[in-house]
Amino acid sequence: MAMTITEKILANSSGKKEVRAGETITGKLDYVLVNDVTGPLAVQEFEKLGVPLSDKDKVVIVLDHFTPCKDIKSAQNCKIMRQFAKKNNVKYFYEGGDVGIEHELLPEQGIARPGLVIVGADSHTCTYGGLGAFSTGIGSTEAAAAWATGELWFRVPETIKFDVSGKLHNRVYSKDIILYIIGKIGVDGALYKAMEFAGEAISALSVGQRLTITNMAVEAGAKNGIIEPDSKVEQYIKERSSLPYKIFKSDKDAQYEKVLAINAGDIEPQVAVPHLPSNSKNVSEVAGLELDQVLIGSCTNGRIEDLEIAAAIMKGKKVAKGLRVIITPATPKVYGQALEKGLLDIFLKSGCVISPPTCGACLGGHMGILAEGERCLATTNRNFVGRMGHPKSEVYLASPATCAASALTGKIRDPREV
C-alpha cells in the first residue's frame, strides 16, 4: 500500500508493515524531550510511577526557557531537573554554557535525525520534521509516561501536502512561506494533520530554512510538519552525528487529504499581526507601524544564517533611536559563529542588545518583556494576547530580514527597500 513519509515513519516505529491515516498505533520513541518549564511536572509525575527510566539515553533535558534563571522559582525548577538528570545519569542534559534553544540545539547536536520518532514537552517539537523525522509536541504527564515505557500511542494523521513551486523573490524567505501558508489555511487549517512541504521552492531551501517552516506547523494546528530528507539533509547529518537514521520518502501514489499548490513567486514579505499567527499580511499593508522593540532570534529564526541576513542589513547603520533591538543567537555554537564572523560586532555597533541563547522573550519569560501598549516585531512564532508581556502589548511576526530592516527605522519596513 502506498504511504506518505509520516505513515512510513509511524509504521516503522510500531513494527507494522503498513499503517493508514486514522489508525491508532503504539510507536517506539527515539527521544523524549523536556525543558525547564515542562520538566518539573514531568519529573513529579514520573516519580509517582515508581519505575526506572526505560532508557536514560533517550531522555533529553534542555533548560532553555527561563534561563539563565530568571527568578527563584525558575532556579528551583532547574535544580529539580539537575538533580533528576544526575540521579538517573541522563546523557543529554543541557544547562549553563551548553544551553541552546532546544529546537535548534537538537538538530545541531545530531540528536534529531531523519526517520526518528521524537516527542517533546514543547509544542514546537514539530521542528525536526524539517529533517524528515516524525516529531510532535506532548504534555509533561505524557513525557513521564514516555520516559517510563519508551512508547506512546499515536493516531496516524491524514496529510495535507503543500506543493511549493517556483522561486522566492529577493528578500523573501522561508519564514514568509510559512506565514503565507498559515495565513491561507488558518490556525486550525491543519488541525490533527501532518503538513508535508514539497516542491522546488522547498528543495531549494537550506536545512536551517526548512526547520523554520516545520517549526511553525503547530501554528496551523498540525500534529507534525515534515519535509522529505534529501542530500542536503544527509550532508547536514553527516557533519553532526554518526548515530543511525533512516531516510523515508512518500510514495508517488501516497494518499493525501488535500494537495495545495503554492507559487513561491506569489509571496511577498509577510507580517502576521496580532493576535494570531494566521493574520498574515503583505508587509506593504502594515509598513510604517511604530515599534518599541525588535527581536531577532528564537527556535524559528535564531540560526547563523538568520543572523547573517540581519547583520548584512544592519552593517554600519544604527538602530532607530528609542528602539530596543534584541538579538538572541539560538545556541552557543551559533553565538560562537556569530562572534567569529564579526556579526556580534555589527550588532553591538548598531546598538543592539545581545542575549545569551534562551527562549526568553519569545514566550514572555524574560530578556525583553513588553509593557502595556508596546509593540514588538519579532522573528518568533506566536503572537497571542500577552505572549511577550503585558496583555495590552502587541507582537508582530516576520522574517529576520524584515525585522532587521525595521530595526533601522523603528517602524515596520519592507526589507526589499534595503
Binding site: 518549564v37 504527564t141 500534529k223 500577552g386
Partner: protein, 203 residues
Amino acid sequence: MKKTKIEGQISEEEDLAAHGTDAKSFAKHALAPENSLSAQLDITKISGSVYRCGDNVDTDVIIPARHLNINDPAELAKHAMEDLDPNFLTKLHDIIVGGKNFGSGSSREHAPLALKAAGVKAIIAKSFSRIFYRNAINIGLPVIILPEADQIGSDAIIDLAKGTIESKGKKFTFAPYAKEVSSILKDGGLVAYLKKKLKGKKN
C-alpha cells in the same frame, strides 16, 4: 509592615483582592475529595454552570508564561484565564464551553491543570488543539468535542458514559470515549492508569 509601592506595579494585596481570595476558596472547593473527578466519574455525570468563550482560546490566555515557573495547581488556578477575562475567577464555573480550536498553542500542561484546579469539571468545544486535548485527558479533565457547542445554554448536564449533553431542553450526543481514554479518565488521569497497568505487568 509597610510596603513601598512602585509606580505602575500591582501590589500583591491588590492582585489577591482582584483574584486571590475568590480563587483560593474555589481552588479549595475544587480540590476537596468529594468534588474530585473520580468521585464525579463514578456517577458518570457532570453538571453545573457554563462559562462560554469564543474561538481559539489559547494556552497563553489560559495561563500566561509569567506563571509557568509555578507547578502547584492551586497556585496556577489563581491565574486561570486572567489575560482573557479578569472576572473568570469571580464565580465558580463547572463547565467551559468554547468554540473552535480550544487550547491552541503551547503544550503547557499548566493550562488544563489551572482550569481543573479552578473548579472546571469538563470542557466542551467545537474543536480542540490536539496537545491540550490529550493533556486534559491525561490529568483527568474530560474534554468533549461537540460541533453544536454554540447551542449550549448557561447550564448543562453531561453524561460521559452515555455520550449525551442536556442543556436548554435540548439533548446532544457525542462519541463516547475509546475504552483506554475512558479508563484513563475513570482512574483520574494517565499516571494512575499507567501505574495500574505497570503493576499488572509485574505480576
